[in-house]
């Protein structure tokens, strides 16, 4: 009986160890898409990258990012291949998904992407001034 218990403990340990190594091998955000910003009227530069986290959530991360500061500036995903400077998404009736107000006009920042967003359709990130309906800068996303 004690020997049987020992075997059980050893087996349990072995399985948990396997589970642990499997989990740690999985424990890395996957890079799905990436692209660089362009924008001359309101100088915008840097990189936009979409990551899939281990729990399945998708996140947009801006790195080496810089844009001009302005009123009511938001980060949006648009259903377009690209966007010109100062493009008016309201007038052009460009579909967009709101990711939130721009946290800062300089530096690395993360934004959650709503569940179920089709990134093959909403394939461009735009820094959008909602008050004046003007695109400050756009980053078309391409498969990583």
């Amino acid at each position: 009986m004690p020997r049987k218990n020992h075997a059980r403990v050893v087996l349990a340990l072995l399985f948990s160890l396997m589970g642990f190594t499997y989990a740690s091998a999985q424990e890395k955000a996957k890079t799905l898409f990436t692209g660089t910003f362009h924008g001359k009227v309101h100088p915008t530069s840097g990189r936009a990258t979409v990551y899939q986290e281990t729990d399945g959530r998708q996140m947009l991360r801006l790195t080496n990012f810089k844009t001009s500061n302005g009123p009511d500036v938001h980060v949006v995903l648009i259903a377009a291949k690209d966007a010109d400077d100062d493009a008016n998404f309201l007038k052009n009736s460009t579909e967009r998904i709101e990711l939130g107000g721009l946290k800062g006009n300089e530096g690395d920042q993360n934004y959650d992407i709503p569940k179920g967003t089709d990134l093959h359709r909403f394939q461009t990130v735009s820094i959008y001034c909602v008050r004046f309906n003007a695109n400050f800068g756009a980053a078309p996303l391409e498969k990583f």
Binding site: T34, T36, R47, E53, N69, P71, K103, N105, N110, F144
Partner: protein, 169 residues
């Protein structure tokens, strides 16, 4: 001037001042001119541990040249300092003896020179397989700042099939 007229004039001045102030506040709120010279800096962490996993440093997608070559080339740095080149989402050109090369210059002319061995480059050798992701190690001492593009070329005949103009990640 009577006392009454004086007070009404004073009242009118106050009204004017109040309205002007409101208009100024509305204008300020609309345009936020101070943002022209005030920067808002943020620095959020990556959704992964940047120090324990390999990090991309340069990346680009291939622009097809002579034949259909598509996909992405990314130069990565491992935590131990080792560097490697990864081809992902990759469709190679037809043919055998297809090579991968890290080259200087990013136009067809410089790519052809690199493929011909006339300019400095790091040849990663022939493609390992015809499908999927593949990695090739780069020399530890490679100065990646010197290279501008990843070139896919065929040995016989010596032809450039694809160029990826590297950009910082």
């Amino acid at each position: 001037m009577t006392n009454n007229a004086k007070t009404s004039l004073l009242r009118r001045e106050w009204m004017l001042a109040a309205v002007t102030l409101l208009v100024l506040i509305a204008l300020w709120w609309t345009f936020r001119p101070e943002k022209l010279w005030v920067n808002q800096k943020v620095n959020e962490a990556a959704p992964f541990d940047e120090s324990s996993t390999a990090q991309p440093i340069l990346t680009a997608r291939f622009e097809a040249n002579a034949q259909q070559t598509s996909g992405r080339a990314t130069v990565c740095r491992k935590p131990d300092g080792g560097k490697y080149l990864r081809l992902s989402d990759f469709t190679p050109p037809n043919g055998s003896d297809i090579h991968v090369l890290l080259a200087r210059g990013d136009n067809p002319k410089t790519a052809q020179e690199a493929a011909d061995g006339q300019s400095e480059g790091i040849d990663c050798g022939p493609l390992k397989s015809n499908q999927g992701n593949q990695d090739c190690d780069l020399p530890m001492a490679a100065d990646l700042g010197r290279y501008d593009a990843v070139v896919i070329y065929g040995q016989t005949p010596r032809a450039v099939f694809g160029i990826a103009k590297l950009e910082p990640f």
